[in-house]
């Protein structure tokens, strides 16, 4: 991947030789509150279109917003977890622009008075710590979702008609904006990924969001600009939207570095614009041009009263925060006995939470790590998805390991059990049952198979009788072959040695 170039894209190495990338990440988090930001409509994902709506979130004439107190609490907790200052007094503001999926043609958001500001998160990347400074975290409402029907791209251009689902309109969002992240050089893509991964872990730990990138409950916009290497000035940035997996975050940063480097190297200027990320082709394409002159005519929302969280309450929320991810990781590493490298790989793969849950479900730390970082990582990579998106749960992994420990399946069969689980055939136990994957533990059948193997391989048998125990492997292999792998290799070995002693 590092050296592939497509027309108009400089290789990553060439790009970095000439330019310094500056990153900025805007993450939108959908809160998992039971009701919307400004009304009591339900927020569940995947409901029939336009069934979770009311006069308020449809923006009907006369309807008025009322702030969801739980959303404010979540916003403050997120701000505190990101080491932010919490505003003692702040307001909502209207961001005015016309778009069909915005029921009021303004978004109720926050402008110059965010609920949380000036924080940071220390991100672990390849064993180093990179401090990502947080500019602000503010509250706002989500928009509806447009579906453009007809046309090739699914975009509004060329569509026959468009449908809008307002179920999402008014879902509470927290927008977390970093300050420009500079000096990360070749680590820029991994820093971006690690930041989002760690932010996701943090939000998960806070319990404020489902943080399902594939469902859009955590969405990332990547701002990127290049400056000539060693220069202090910031270049013109692009904002790449629709970056909806950790893998994509990394790829999008890498792609934009290469693309912008090509533009600049050709003596052209980077256009300040919104760009779309294409998961399938791994490229970004131009969206709407976004100039600084775009005027949202912000003003304080007159239908809402200011938010003035009491200091005492904020301190109570601070005191009740869960352990921060880094401390949490350090503690887990000690508890699990992982080496630094093992821990780093686990975190880097975005598997920390999964491993933790798998251990909680009964697996040993080593086995939990082994499954997620090898077998599952391979499958996620094949499918081009994040680990968390695989259709297998930590509980499934723990159960498969238990089956191995109980001798009901061996490692090879375990992989077939995962095949079945991923194919939607049911729980590990159901897959074992349906596919008939249980190890043959019938002593009679095994014993007979061993006898047949000895008979068929007299030379080998003689060697073993002579004390060359290492030769047992050939007989074990023959037995396993006959049993189509569904035998406990350890028990077969015991039987071979018993019979030839």
């Amino acid at each position: 991947m590092t050296t592939t170039t497509t027309p108009g894209v400089l290789s990553f190495e060439d790009a970095l030789a000439r330019f310094d990338p500056t990153l900025g990440l805007e993450v939108h988090v959908e809160l998992n509150t039971a009701s919307k930001m400004f009304c009591s409509c339900a927020t569940g994902f995947g409901a029939e279109p336009n069934t979770q709506v009311c006069p308020v979130c449809l923006g009907l004439p006369g309807a008025m917003p009322v702030v969801n107190a739980t959303a404010v609490e979540s916003a403050i907790r997120i701000g505190l977890a990101l080491n932010c200052s919490i505003a003692s007094w702040c307001r909502f503001a209207r961001k005015n622009y016309f778009y069909p999926d915005m029921p009021k043609n303004f978004q109720t958001s926050q402008y110059d008075e965010p609920i949380a500001y000036d924080g940071f998160m220390d991100v672990d990347v390849d064993g180093e710590t990179v401090r990502v400074e947080i500019e602000r975290a503010h509250m706002e409402e989500d928009t509806g979702k447009s579906l453009h029907v007809g046309g090739a791209t699914g975009r509004i251009h060329g569509a026959d008609y468009s449908l809008v689902d307002y179920n999402r309109a008014g879902i509470p969002l927290i927008e977390i904006v970093t300050k420009p992240v500079r000096g990360t050089r070749e680590q820029a893509p991994t820093v971006a990924r690690a930041y989002v991964a760690q932010l996701r872990d943090l939000l998960l730990g806070l319990g404020v969001s489902d943080v399902r990138m594939e469902q859009g409950s955590l969405r990332c916009d990547v701002n990127l600009s290049l400056a000539p290497a060693g220069s202090d000035v910031l270049g013109t940035r692009t904002e790449t939207k629709n970056v909806n997996s950790l893998r994509s975050v990394e790829r999008a940063v890498r792609y934009e570095i290469g693309r912008q480097a090509a533009v600049l190297s050709a003596g052209a200027k980077v256009v300040q614009e919104t760009r779309h990320w294409h998961e399938d082709t791994g490229i970004t394409t131009s969206g709407r041009e976004k100039s600084d002159a775009e005027d949202y005519r912000y003003f304080p929302e007159p239908d809402l009263v200011p938010i003035a969280p009491e200091r005492e309450w904020v301190e109570r929320l601070r005191a009740a925060l869960p352990e921060p991810p880094r401390e949490h990781r350090a503690r887990l590493q000690r508890k699990w006995g992982f080496s630094d490298l093992e821990m780093r790989d686990t975190v880097g793969a975005g598997a920390l939470g999964l491993v933790e849950e798998t251990i909680a479900a009964g697996a040993s730390p080593a086995s939990a790590r082994k499954w997620w970082l090898s077998e599952m990582a391979r499958r996620a990579n094949e499918q081009g998805v994040d680990l968390a998106e695989l259709a297998v749960t930590p509980a499934d992994v723990a159960r498969v390991q238990a089956l191995v420990d109980e001798g009901k399946v061996n490692d090879k069969l375990a992989r077939q059990v995962f095949d079945g689980v991923l194919a939607g055939e049911g729980t590990p136990d159901e897959v074992v049952e349906k596919r008939g994957l249980a190890v043959v533990s019938d002593e009679g059948a095994l014993s007979a198979a061993v006898d047949r193997a000895i008979e068929a391989n007299p030379d080998v048998a003689a060697k073993i009788r002579d004390g060359k125990v290492a030769a047992a492997g050939a007989l074990i292999g023959a037995v396993m072959k006959e049993m189509r792998g569904q035998a406990d290799a350890g028990r077969v070995r015991e039987l071979v040695l018993e019979k030839l002693s």
């Binding site: 006069p55 923006g59 009322v66 005015n96 005519r297 007159p302 239908d303 809402l304």
Partner: protein, 507 residues
């Protein structure tokens, strides 16, 4: 004219309670009166005879079984067309909402229904409440019952005219810069703008959210208090609603009606009298003040210097908020949809543009343009930001004035009703109608307009405005009722008795 339509709401409530009449009779009398005179007055945009009579029958059943829902159970009411009414068209006087039937009730409307008041229909108004004459209604102007060639005030001219023409005993209006009080003054009726936050705005199609208040439009101060107690009070669906009980308004109105104002300190606002006020208006105002003095009140002149900037401030804040509020009218979800001519397969943006071009009237467009400009980056501080600062100064002027006086008095409107069309081409002349009423909206304080007589030069009604500190709505009722008693005694009967009869032979 049926005797029932001449009665006040309080009298009707008593008669209903005593079983002397029924809500069906009262409601039918109003409907008959509407049928008789509204083609000339045009106070209503929509009349819901079936709905009103069904509500009246239900009220009669409750009365018969001794389970009246409220003191006003069965007394019909008209509602300004800016309040959402489930199942009844709500147009805000605009083409852009033609045919829109809300799926929900405004809180004010829900409270009217819960209290058993049959809703006669929706009253005419300037488009989106922008105007002082009701001439900006997309559905044609309302005519002043005192002189059908003149304006009934605005934006709530429909509600005021309906009450003045005896089409309804009660009406609900909304007041952003005077839209309840100024129509009250020029039609010889009573109008109250409650303390901001005193009546829920949920379901009130916003003109300027930080200024809008719904309130009663009636023929007597007591009726206004009765209606205010029905529609007022905290509403969790309006975050700006005041979370504390209403003062005892009916009680205050009854106390005031004794005419006893001994010890009351009345402040006359220097900046809201004199120049710019029609001679007859000023004359009736001075007499009203003298009556209070004769009845034992103490009068002081107070100065509120920033009031001279109130109009300019108002015409920045209002358009700014309105420009954002009105963005939702885009043909995407409800209301008018206009396809641009000569465009094949128009985009959403093109449909929005064509619809807004056709659906909004000139005054609305004017204010959207002003407001958009005032909020633009680079201009925000100079216009909207500055206006908010002046607004704070207006509030401080009020606070200082209320240290010297319990209530403040001024003429409600600078002139009597002008002729239809007279000021239509001069927006600033139109805006000046609200000179005296706007400061109360900027500061959120309550105000009432009560009739002060007829101007000598044209024989048309004039009004006096009583303002009180925020939350002291009871004070405007007490003083308003005292003025009403003192003036009515002087006139020998209600001012509206002198309005021309509108009907033909049936008088």
């Amino acid at each position: 004219m049926s005797d029932l339509t001449r009665r006040t709401a309080a009298e009707l409530a008593d008669a209903l309670a005593a079983g002397e009449t029924t809500s069906v009779e009262v409601t039918q009398a109003s409907l008959d009166r509407i049928a008789e005179v509204d083609s000339a007055v045009h106070a209503f945009l929509h009349v819901d005879a079936d709905g009103a009579l069904a509500a009246a029958r239900a009220a009669d059943q409750r009365r018969a079984s001794g389970t009246a829902a409220s003191a006003l159970d069965g007394v019909p009411v008209a509602v300004k067309d800016v309040l959402a009414t489930e199942g009844l068209p709500t147009t805000c006087g605009s083409r852009i909402l033609e045919g829109w039937v809300p799926p929900y009730d405004a809180t004010v409307v829900a409270r009217l229904r819960a209290a058993g008041l049959p809703i006669l229909g929706k009253t005419n108004m300037d488009e989106f409440a922008m105007g002082s004459s009701t001439e900006h209604s997309a559905y044609g102007p309302t005519h002043n019952p005192w002189d059908l060639g003149r304006i009934p005030g605005g934006s709530g001219g429909g509600s005021a005219a309906a009450v003045a023409a005896f089409e309804a005993p009660l009406a609900v209006g909304t007041d952003t810069g005077g839209s309840i009080r100024q129509p009250g003054a020029v039609t010889g009726t009573v109008g109250v703008k409650p303390t901001y936050g005193g009546v829920s705005r949920y379901g009130l199609v916003a003109l300027a959210n930080s200024l809008d208040q719904a309130g009663p439009v009636t023929r007597t101060v007591l009726d206004a208090a009765l209606l205010h107690e029905v529609i007022g009070g905290h509403d969790p669906r309006d975050s700006t609603s005041i979370d504390r009980p209403l003062p005892a308004l009916v009680e205050a109105a009854r106390q005031g009606a004794t005419g006893d104002v001994k010890g009351l300190r009345v402040g006359v606002v220097k900046e809201l009298t004199g120049e710019g006020y029609q001679a007859g208006v000023q004359q009736r105002f001075d007499e009203a003040v003298r009556l209070l003095v004769d009845a034992g009140a103490e009068v002081v002149e107070v100065s509120c210097p920033t009031f001279v900037h109130a109009l300019a401030t108002y015409y920045l804040i209002l358009p700014a908020e309105a420009s954002s509020n009105l963005a939702k009218f885009d043909a995407m979800r409800y209301g008018l949809r206009v396809l641009p001519e000569g465009v094949e397969a128009p985009s959403a943006e093109e449909v929005m543009r064509a619809t807004r071009d056709r659906g909004f009237g000139d005054e609305v467009k004017r204010r959207i343009i002003i407001g958009t400009y005032a909020l633009s980056s680079g201009y925000y501080d100079a216009y909207y930001g500055q206006a908010q600062k002046v607004r704070t100064l207006v509030s401080r002027d009020f606070a200082a004035a209320f240290e010297q006086a319990d209530v403040l008095l001024s003429p409600t409107a600078p002139t009597t009703a002008f002729k239809l069309g007279e000021k239509l081409d001069d927006p600033v002349a139109m805006y000046l109608n609200d000179l005296a009423t706007i400061p109360a909206n900027l500061a959120g304080v309550p105000g009432i307009s009560v009739p002060s007589g007829l101007a000598d030069e044209d024989g048309l009604p004039t009004g006096v405005q009583v303002l009180a500190p925020a939350l002291a709505d009871d004070r405007v009722y007490r003083v308003g009722a005292a003025l009403e008693t003192l003036l009515t005694d002087r006139w020998g009967g209600p001012l509206l008795d002198r309005a021309p009869a509108l009907e033909g032979a049936s008088a």
